[in-house]
Point group: C2
Chain length 393, copies 2
Amino acid sequence: MEFKSLLAERTEIMGASAIREILKVVSEPGMISLAGGIPAPESFPMEIIGELTERVIGKYSSRAFQYDLTEGFMPLQEQLAVLLQERGIKVDPCDVNIASGSQGVLDAMAKILISIGDKIAVEAPTYLGAISAFNPYQPEYIRMDTDDSGLIPESLDEILTCHKIKFIYLVPTFQNPTGRTIPLERRERIADIIIRHNALLVEDDPYGSLRYHGTDIPPIKTLAPLNVVYVSTLSKIFAPGLRIGFFTGPELIRKWLVLVKQGTDLHTSTFNQALAAEYLSGGYLKKHLPVILGLYKPKQAAMLNAIKRYFPKNFKCSPSDGGMFFWVRGPGGVDMEKVYYKALKRKVAFVPGKFFYTKEGEGIETMRLNYTMSSENTLERAIEILGDVLKEI
Amino acid sequence: MEFKSLLAERTEIMGASAIREILKVVSEPGMISLAGGIPAPESFPMEIIGELTERVIGKYSSRAFQYDLTEGFMPLQEQLAVLLQERGIKVDPCDVNIASGSQGVLDAMAKILISIGDKIAVEAPTYLGAISAFNPYQPEYIRMDTDDSGLIPESLDEILTCHKIKFIYLVPTFQNPTGRTIPLERRERIADIIIRHNALLVEDDPYGSLRYHGTDIPPIKTLAPLNVVYVSTLSKIFAPGLRIGFFTGPELIRKWLVLVKQGTDLHTSTFNQALAAEYLSGGYLKKHLPVILGLYKPKQAAMLNAIKRYFPKNFKCSPSDGGMFFWVRGPGGVDMEKVYYKALKRKVAFVPGKFFYTKEGEGIETMRLNYTMSSENTLERAIEILGDVLKEI
């Protein structure tokens, strides 16, 4: 009995994931993987985690293990309002809601807004996890142009003029996959455009705190407060295994996001929300963030230096001041999936960039390189090997 | 800016929740609530929770805080395979998957199987949380008849003969809202019927371990292993705030459930899964379950005795050997929503039964009474008051 005939239309469309297939070999022994997108385990505040759990159990007792409101655990909502304030976003604690990772917000956004065939505007390239959150709701993707400074505002303006767009999805800071950041003056123009078109922007900001150079740039949310659902997470500055995402945005949208979350998972783990509340209220994030930055900054530098040294000069690396990735574009005609299979034989893995595009045929000559999971030495060796492979082709 | 015009068709249909509205007053000070459906906080194993967290941190270190596979945290999958074995369900650890509460499985089931207008067969009455998981996918509900022994097999047979049903949703043991259990011989007939019709059953079993009288009855999964997705949770035997549900079922269905879960929340909290694995592997559940049963059994007895003593004789309480609820049906003509408002004035709340029916006009004369959250004395007082109100109408 296979039950295949029972599948919904959306499921039949989803099909197998090509990227999942090609990445299956990445965890083989001896492989150096630049393919992942996950934080280094050394970046977790393991030395205080025992203390945090004790504080939570002492302070909240059984409340930390009971069902809680879908909206979020109030002590965490209060702390996140403070964190958002530091990012320039003024909200009442009640207006910050908790999700099971940012992923939970992206799923819920699509669930409340997308009927089959509705249009979403996404960057080319864009975050793969967002695509897998949106796909089941069968949207049509409208791709927006980008360059080394991220989204090109004129492309957004044109799309909002020509299409009825349900929402725009952007990762403005240290984007996944490109590591790029939209500079302030572009953000201002983007804010003007979405306000003028009465459009709704989902601003996904998982990496904003991971800045190794330069100074912070305010979220677009601060420039167009009524038009933006701002989404962030503690996965990169605390621990991803706790699955704590959060969001704030227009009240009507938030109300619906909470309502559909109730049907999806009732609420996010109370205990983990309480741990996160203690992490923030106890000042641990402030003490620990420099440790995380100190860990990643030299890795980023090591990878960039190695790329400059070992990659052929016609392979261009996008500038990036933070996050977890570098993005390299080869000359036209390079097929990075072929490079991938050649590199695998030399025990180095990465993600061919084409998987981050919603339009077939784009990004064939691009690659995403992660630097958070390997040591500086390993990163240098891996990039040297990749450089050799690139020279061979 | 309200963005109302952006809502998807499914969202417009969902509308406001009547039950949410009427239950808003339940948490007012001085109210005795028999309306909830949550475990008593005293049922949580608080005395060992600190020890469990220490063991998890010692044993798994940063792994418990890192991203993990969507399928589940393997040490927990292994323990759940043992738990399922004890319930008569033989599975490999790889074939048990983890979800963010049972709710996560119900959402995913509907997501992979329901196109707009597809039919689901549900009991009348049925679990409200399932309805809120299924609703966004816009199914048509086909209601199946029940009596004091739960689902009437002939009703299921007839429905499978007349309709193309995507799946059947059942809570066979200590059902929410009725507390009823389907006896073995009915389960055998139900198993025969679904096998004969090649149908898919979602067997939701959150309360099975909470048995205060009688002996365990095997899940329908054991009688029709190829036709059943068996769903359960640790919420009632460990702690609901950790949001750990689990499921096993036909491979094709499981594969899709895992794939859509990846887009919904990536995976369930690693730390909480690790805590659950330690709770099970350390033998804590075996030691603690009798404590939970010892807590609830006298509450159940107190409520039942009070119902017998104080309710008018023409109000019938369904027999129940476990779980968290009693279900009372008044004579035709009684409007239990009116009783609800009268009872509120006397500071007692419950849930009018009509909210558990998918068809308007059914269950007007019914009520659901929860006994896990109040002391025996309070339960007796509340039922006495309710009895007075019932006699007045």
